[in-house]
């Protein structure tokens, strides 16, 4: 039992650090440091750089182009990625549909889709939730009726993140309504967003940002070969995907980066008689979150160590999701508290290059409340924290 890195791990860490130092594009770094959103083109360019290095499929099996890294290597990578303030790759292809395809897809599907996912040639989005279904996924109503050699899809998906940029969508759809349990008769299919009958309606979130969408399907024809795995087994595949999603959603390395940056920020804060780092109350709150995060860091490592490489994490990943999002939201609130009055100004464009008016506050300040508002979703999306607790109660505690 030891906490330090081995020489091999230290060498790997050096390699990862060098990569981020040398290969992460300077223009993106500047945008990120100002807290600006990256354009979709930036996201694609960055993933292509990662793919060139062979580091796009971090959790993928080697045979499909994955890295084959150990849990500790993945931990090191995530840490350095966060420390470089590099963006998370868009997860819908790499972390969601990819694992479903390489686990349950046909050889043809693997050949057709996996390389494009790794190379970010195709932008994927997710069609799970529906208006009215919420956390009760199995109540989904979108239908895919088999007509000859294609499905005809009708229905609406919602909360589809970044769907406005997507080329393809993976969906859970109902292919059979004559079933004993609602979880049966659901299939996992892949739909080209350019298909006639697909339309996208934006949903504006409480911070004023267009991030999620409703996707409408009106008699959309989908070739039968876009069905992944067996008809009616979509629920099972979807659960595997959600466990992957949950394990990634904790965001430990990001939270650590954000806490460290906050510690820096409050040392030089100009608000108040002394820097906020002299405010014992604030620093105690910060330290308390640091303790929880350190514990979660090791909980995640223990979970990863217990999971053999490539295998999907089990229901324990729900603990990571719940605690990870609680910590993220606690950090959001710390930033708001650090900002004080300057959490209030709403000037979303002021860090865009063409902004001509006067700036208000520091960027970490005026973005703090928007981030806090936006990230309330973290405990709702990806299976709400209440659903996660139900899962843990049932599958871990046996209640």
């Amino acid at each position: 039992m030891h906490v330090t890195f081995s020489p091999e791990e230290l060498a790997f860490q050096e390699q990862v650090r060098a990569f981020f130092r040398d290969e992460f594009p300077e223009d993106m770094r500047q945008k990120r440091d100002k807290g600006m959103e990256l354009d979709p083109e930036d996201q694609v360019r960055w993933q292509q750089l990662l793919n060139k290095k062979g580091w796009a499929g971090i959790n993928w099996p080697v045979e499909y182009g994955g890295t084959g890294w150990t849990p500790v290597q993945k931990y090191i990578y995530a840490t350095e990625e966060a420390n470089a303030n590099a963006p998370l790759v868009v997860p819908f292809g790499l972390s969601m549909v990819g694992p479903v395809i390489y686990t349950f897809g046909s050889i043809e599907q693997k050949q057709r889709f996996l390389p494009d996912i790794l190379a970010s040639n195709v932008w994927w989005c997710q069609g799970y939730s529906e208006p009215g279904s919420g956390s009760d996924l199995a109540s989904l109503k979108t239908r895919a009726d088999l007509v000859g050699d294609h499905f005809v899809v009708n229905g609406t998906k919602t909360w589809t993140t970044l769907g406005q940029h997507a080329d393809w969508i993976f969906c859970l759809v109902r292919t059979n309504t004559d079933v004993a349990r609602r979880q049966e008769g659901i299939s996992f299919i892949l739909i080209d967003m350019k298909s006639p009958g697909v339309s996208v309606t934006p949903i504006i979130l409480l911070d004023g940002v267009h991030e999620v969408n409703e996707i409408h399907f009106e008699n959309v024809e989908v070739p039968v070969e876009n069905l992944v795995g067996e008809e009616g087994k979509g629920w099972t595949y979807g659960k595997v995907l959600l466990q992957h999603e949950r394990a990634n959603i904790a965001g430990v390395a990001r939270s650590r980066y954000r806490l460290r940056r906050l510690r820096q920020q409050v040392k030089s804060s100009v608000r108040g008689a002394a820097p906020l780092s002299g405010d014992k109350n604030f620093m105690r709150r910060l330290a308390a979150v640091e303790v929880e995060l350190k514990a979660l860091e090791y909980t995640e490592l223990r979970t990863l160590a217990a999971v053999s490489s490539g295998k999907a994490p089990g229901p324990e990943s729900s603990i990571l999701k719940v605690k990870g999002t609680e910590i993220q939201q606690a950090i959001d609130m710390l930033y708001v508290q650090a900002a004080g009055y300057y959490a209030l100004p709403y000037v979303p464009d002021q860090y865009k290059p063409d902004f001509a008016d006067q700036h208000v506050g520091e960027e970490a300040e005026t973005q703090s409340s928007l981030r806090y508002f936006n990230n309330r979703k973290a405990s709702i999306y990806g299976g709400s924290n209440e659903i996660q607790k139900n899962i843990i109660a049932k599958h871990v505690l046996g209640l």
């Binding site: 608000r271 009055y341 959490a343 209030l344 100004p345 709403y346 208000v360 508002f373 979703k377």
Partner: protein, 374 residues
């Protein structure tokens, strides 16, 4: 000891509730918030016509002779309606200074115009470096003949972009955070050297940062005594703190009610989500917070209105509660609304944002708990 509204308060409460029910639907509120001024001039005129703008002013000043309790009755209902009209800036803040230290002439010139709705006014109660200490004032005012010349910066001036008159506390002596040495100036918004950078705030309201570069005002602009402005500033900010706490309590009650209603109508797994015990217990906690906040608001407001020795503790107590369990209630309301709770289209998100803004105003929960721990 009596917690019931008197007859006049009851009528005031009824008329505001009726106004909101009939004329201030959420969509209307959003339209006003998005307008150029950020509020409705028509609504403000209605406020003046109904006399709501005169409530906390003495009969001698032409007011309604109300006190903090009457303002509480109003603000709690403004909170329920999520009103964007500048009652805080005009009546509680600018009016609060003028009624305390304005001369007869100054009241005649400005307070009357505020009450009639002709003049928009506000108070520049903080500076960028001050955090929550209202005595931390670096803006200077130097005597120059019969005039005063002001230099410095002010932050987060509510409705600063639409105000005709801005009351500016400036340092005329003492160290940067001394209570003494602060003088209050009434500065017309069009005074040369005063630049106003107006912006939206995250709660759908408006504020401004000010830069004062050799802003010259006459001796008539001085409100109250030279070096002697702190007491009026402090009392006025305490009144404003109570007022936004009342607004917050109104918001809490709306958020609780909407969440309970939503939980009855929203079905998941074939049953209303309100039937899930874990959510029931959390909604009970929300109810408890509402009851506790309502009770503490009554105590705090009555204590300040009666000028008891505990007035300062009272203000800090309710602000602390709003900023802690109140903020948590807001988070719970959003959480229990699920995905809907984080969308722009649902009113819940906007109540939550206003609540969050209030939590940061006039000292956050930590700031006030420190005062209570002293």
């Amino acid at each position: 000891m009596d917690f019931s509204l008197n007859e006049v308060q009851g009528m005031l409460a009824d008329s505001i509730e009726k106004f909101i029910d009939n004329e201030y639907a959420f969509d209307t509120r959003q339209k006003y918030a998005a307008s150029e001024a950020g509020f409705s001039a028509d609504v403000w005129n209605t406020f003046a016509e109904l006399g709501w703008t005169t409530v906390p002013f003495s009969e001698d000043d032409g007011g309604f002779n109300g006190d903090q309790i009457d303002v509480m009755v109003m603000m709690q209902r403004f909170g329920r309606g999520l009103l964007v009209e500048p009652y805080l800036a005009n009546i509680v803040l600018a009016g609060g200074i003028l009624k305390r230290v304005g001369s007869a002439a100054q009241k005649q010139q400005w307070l009357q115009a505020i009450m009639s709705g002709e003049l928009q006014a506000t108070l520049a109660f903080t500076e960028p470096q001050a955090r929550y200490d209202i005595a931390n004032i670096a803006t200077t005012a130097a005597a120059n003949g019969a005039d005063w010349v002001l230099n410095g910066q002010k932050g987060l001036v509510f409705n600063g972009g639409t105000s005709d008159l801005i009351i500016v506390p400036a340092r005329t002596s003492g160290k940067q955070d001394d209570d003494s040495g602060i003088t209050l100036f009434a500065v017309p918004a069009d005074t040369a050297g005063l630049s106003i950078n107006a912006y939206h705030t995250v709660d759908g309201l408006r504020a401004a940062d000010l830069t004062l570069s050799d802003v010259r005002v006459s001796g008539d602009a001085v409100l109250g005594g030279i070096d002697d402005g702190f007491a009026a500033l402090d009392e006025t900010v305490d009144d404003a703190t109570l007022a936004i706490c009342a607004e917050a309590v109104g918001i809490l009650q709306v958020l609780k009610d909407k969440t309970v209603e939503f939980s009855k109508s929203r079905s998941q797994f074939g049953v209303p989500i309100g039937s899930f015990q874990a959510l029931q217990h959390r909604m009970v906690d929300m109810l408890t917070v509402c009851e506790q906040a309502q009770s503490l608001l009554l105590w705090a407001t009555m204590t300040v209105a009666e000028g008891g020795a505990e007035a300062k503790r009272a203000v800090s107590s309710i602000k602390y509660l709003v900023g802690t369990s109140g903020q948590t209630l807001g988070e719970e309301a959003v959480q229990l609304h699920g995905g809907m709770g984080v969308t722009w289209d649902l009113d819940v998100a906007h109540y939550f944002k206003r609540l969050t803004a209030i939590s940061q105003l006039f000292g956050n929960a930590d700031w006030h708990l420190d005062k209570l721990a002293a």
